[in-house]
Amino acid sequence: MRELIKLRDMWKSFGEVNALQNVNLTIPQGKITALLGPSGSGKTTLLRIIAGLDIPTRGKFYYKGTLISGNDQANLRQKATLVFQKSVFFHTTVYNNVAFGLKLIDEVSKEQVSNKISEALALVRLEGFEKRQAKKLSGGEQQRVSLARALVLDRELLLLDEPTVNLDPKNVSIIEEAIHRVNQEKKTTIVLATHNMFQAEAISQRVALLIDGTVKQIGTNKDVFGKSNKHLESFARLENVFSGTAKQSEGTSTIEINENLKIEAAFSKSGKVSVHVRPEDILLSTKALKSSARNVFKGKIVGITDLGGIAKITVDAGRKFSIQITKKSLTEMKLTVGAEIFLAFKASSVRLI
């Protein structure tokens, strides 16, 4: 795994506030890395430093092994571009906004500018928007123009600051698809700041968990999401965390959560335990299931939340369970609040915290 960026002992302070504290992070080349963390965790500050817009208070920043100093920032900005969380535009057309960066490059002809703009707008599915006033577009369209404006430059590093926050599912999926395509087809290294755990897991290959300006965990998706940990739990307010008394029997454990709810887990442990079941590990069925799943409960849907391409279903089955399904499943199963439902998950999906 070739590294594109290496940050060592990096700090960024604003007065007495430390936005970043001793950050150590490696960004591999050609991969999508998610900076996952809650608001105020330092994601934007970190992206701005990597983009060459801000200078760290202290620490070392290596780009392809070369130490970057404050004077190298202008060069860094020729290699990386940042898409801001809030779309900002020059008071002109979509075409001129997307062309802005290209026009700064001497060797690009007018025809090439035009072709590249058409290509970038097609990637974000905004063909024919060239003559529209950028500031008059909808929020989702504006964010797609912002992405096109960055993509058109073909930089080797693309930095995205919460690119889909507050957008509707259609715009989210267009942006996520474009990000995925650029990474796959052009091998662009992408760093995506997000507070959406599902998005981080779905899009990226590596995840850095940033909390209170510190990288608490870094690794592949499997490393970070594969097993529950206190950092992830503290940030994500992990759903489906249950505490109870476990009893061992034949290599498994039965955890009594309350009088009506007993969860079977594929580990041997006795006494007080806390366990977690990932929302995407739970199956939903409108009819009673006959399966190998050791945990099958009947409950009632008490909430449905749209999370973009996916939906979160909350089911009361003695305790509240959060289940993650696709929007397609939600539509096909015709799920509504108040409906009775069966949920099932394997004993091996129950993780000890």
């Binding site: 701005r48 983009a51 060459g52 817009l53 202008a74 900005r77 020729q78 990386a80 571009t81 940042l82 801001f84 809030k86 900002v88 020059f90 008071h91 802005f100 960066g101 700064l104 490059i105 404006r149 960055a150 430059l153």
Partner: protein
């Protein structure tokens, strides 16, 4: 008095349409002097306002406040100051600029500098500063990014230039004191109006007043139309 005013307005149109050479010379000199003042003030005001609008440095607030305070500086005070500086015995008297249109322009340019700087700074401050970072992340140098912001603020810059021109074109104190209102040399619209009124030539004064106001009106309307386009 009503008859005098009506007479003055009629005379004004007669003077304008009869292509009276003296009126056109005075009007032309007024436009030249104030136009040059605006050009000079713009040259130094834009960079200063750009720095004030974009940079944060110690003393910025004081400077910003000072320029705002000097917007209302009395023209006669500035005229007197320039007279003392450029009179034959003054420290800058060796330039020999007293009683020349150039010195009126220089005086007016100093007069309108606080207007231009304050207005342009406000126009820049009104622009979303994320645009500057956007320009930088898209590959602009610091100067290119600042120019992008200035371009976004161009509406405000035009307004500032226009306000400066209006102030210079309509002022009397500097033109009278450092220009001396010399016939065929430094006589401009405002000084001529003052002179003619002093001579009880009310109709002539009104005529020139109509021309003065007419030019300001047409110019402002045209610029307003151009801004909208």
């Amino acid at each position: 008095m009503t008859a005098t005013i009506v007479d003055g307005i009629i005379k004004a149109f007669q003077l304008i349409f009869s292509l009276d050479p003296e009126v056109y010379r005075i009007t032309g000199l007024s436009l030249y002097v104030s136009g040059l003042a605006v050009v000079l003030a713009t040259i130094w005001s834009i960079p200063i306002a750009t720095i004030l609008g974009l940079k944060n440095f110690r003393g910025r607030k004081f400077l910003r406040g000072s320029f705002s305070a000097f917007i209302g500086i009395p023209t006669v005070v500035l005229g007197l100051l320039f007279y003392l500086l450029f009179s034959r015995s003054g420290p800058l008297g060796f330039f020999g600029l007293l009683h020349t249109p150039l010195l009126i322009s220089i005086g007016q340019s100093v007069l309108i500098t606080p207007i231009l700087i304050s207005f342009i700074t406000s126009a820049i401050e009104a622009i979303d500063m994320d645009l500057r970072d956007l320009a930088r992340t898209l590959g602009s140098t610091e100067i290119q990014a600042s120019l992008s912001i200035l371009k976004e603020a161009s509406g405000g810059v035009i307004l500032a230039v226009l306000a400066g021109f209006n102030r210079a074109f309509a002022e009397l104190g500097i033109a009278m004191i450092v220009g001396g209102n010399i016939y065929k040399r430094t006589r401009i619209l405002t000084t001529t109006i003052a002179l003619e009124t002093g001579k009880a030539e009310i109709a002539q004064s009104i005529a020139l007043g109509v021309i003065l106001v007419g030019i300001v009106y047409v110019l402002n309307i045209s610029m307003s139309y151009l801004r909208k386009r």
